[in-house]
Symmetry: C2
């Protein structure tokens, strides 16, 4: 069974890692949100792409949910000492990734090619693709006006109230080479437990249509997100945050939905949206949970 | 006594540090070569300026002669792992300097202003000035054609035979704010024991004239340089490398010359060039040597 998974950062990366442990490498493609990407300190930074790659390469820092394990912080410490911007914490090895990517982007190379080479260097076997090689930038419309995503997410720590989102550059953005093919050749498409508003939606706006059956894993458990502002965003947009709200968000394209055991009471209501459901333990607290949830998800897909 | 010192990297930085230990901060200005500056990995790197600042701040790596003490190397290790250019070894804290400088240069700030702020952050009291705020780039004409300075110096490890030098951009370059004033208000100008061809000459070409008495400390001892390619350059240009060759190089503007005890036999020959001489122990193997040589140099200047 060939799977194409759509992913944002932490939660998406964990399920992608689970899928990578089960599926033959040639049967898994992970398409990653690049709407969070930004330029900072002259570096082209791709937070979701790096989180997915670091997680697949088992280089990720599992405590922070971003960056790499066993990092040192001497670059940013000196930047801070010199009075420079240090609010976006970049580890030293991580900065190596950004420097080399920035160098190659400036030389005219495509992000997808750079990502392919980085994956090879890190020993990542499945295919990892940025959603696009163009610059698409998530802009958060908030009660304080429009904010660039990382300004909202890291610098302002998601405190401004969200009113909506737009993805600058999306109208002219083409899916990166391989994205269309991966979606076409897949037996199923899995939306990893990532933020619907700012991780999955940007990818959907770039790829425009998905013909293959879509299965989504809820990033919301018991009305809350494990990490990140998805629940807060639903609430601020006037929607009660829940697994149901996530399923409803994807309603038009959803074939199956995986919700947490904690939300089992919502199962019928979600089925009434017209999709199949699987109630599973969707928490991935331990590395072994990733492969388990991936396996249950694949069995659910096979069963339909 | 007000002193303006002209310096390149290691040797120049050491004497500048010695002068800084003796002179009141307001009486010392160090004008630093920026002909070695280059752009690498998207970073604006100023090797001589950083060596001078790190040395004055006592942050320098005294073993390598470049970079900082107690460095980590995680950025460049990851760049190398990803197949990027790693021939120019940049430490992590050092990269913080380059990132923040590059950020501010791109924002339109002058290198001299950035250097001033960095010196304040590092607790450096004397004034340190880049020779110019414009881009002046040393190009080495060699038997393998023209090479950018760092390509010749670091990547090719000075192996190509030198035929000459040019300083790209020097015709239109103005001295950085403060350089002219420092040269005008000084009681004497000291050429630190730096490479005449690629450290002092670029500064001289930018400042064009020096009205105050010039005193030079020989970077060549016993026909050799302690560090760097100055002796090799003299030889390849058909001049026997010696303290005499250095004095002869500066002949037109030299008031006094400090040569090493090892070269005492050359003293008369150098005096015949028309300058006063001081024979001193010019080796600065230990930190205490720096202040000693600085003190001897200042006494020599006062005596004339």
């Amino acid at each position: 069974m060939k799977i194409t998974a759509l992913a944002g950062g932490v939660g998406g990366a964990k399920l992608a890692h689970g899928l990578a442990q089960i599926l033959p490498a040639e049967d898994l493609t992970v398409v990653v949100n690049t709407g969070d990407d930004f330029e900072h300190l002259g570096l082209s930074i791709c937070p979701d792409l790096d989180t997915v790659c670091y997680t697949l390469a088992e280089l990720a820092n599992s405590e922070t949910g971003w960056g790499r394990a066993d990092e040192t912080w001497n670059v940013i410490s000196n930047v801070e000492k010199l009075g420079g911007p240090a609010w976006f914490r970049l580890g030293d090895a991580d900065i190596g990734t950004h420097l080399e990517r920035t160098r190659r982007l400036k030389a005219g190379e495509a992000l997808s090619q750079i990502t392919k080479d980085f994956c090879a260097a890190w020993g990542i076997k499945p295919t990892v693709l940025p959603m696009t090689d163009s610059a698409v930038r998530t802009v958060v419309d908030s009660d304080e006006g429009e904010l660039a995503f990382q300004e909202y997410f890291v610098h302002r720590q998601c405190q401004p109230r969200v009113k909506g989102f737009r993805f600058e550059g999306v109208a002219s953005a083409q899916p990166a080479v391989g994205v269309k093919e991966a979606l076409r050749s897949a037996d199923a498409v899995i939306f990893c437990p990532s933020n619907p508003w700012v991780s999955i939606d940007p990818i959907l706006q770039v790829v425009k249509e998905i013909e293959k059956p879509v299965f989504a894993v809820s990033p919301i458990i018991g009305g809350k997100t494990i990490k990140g502002p998805a629940a807060k965003m639903f609430a601020e947009l006037g929607i009660e945050p829940s697994a149901y709200a996530v399923a409803e968000h994807y309603r038009a394209i959803l074939r199956g939905f995986i919700l947490d055991v904690e939300d089992a009471a919502l199962e019928n209501k979600i089925q009434n949206l017209g999709c199949a459901t699987l109630v599973a333990n969707t928490r991935m607290n331990h590395p072994a949970d990733r492969a388990r949830l991936a396996e249950e998800t694949l069995q659910f897909i096979r069963s339909l």
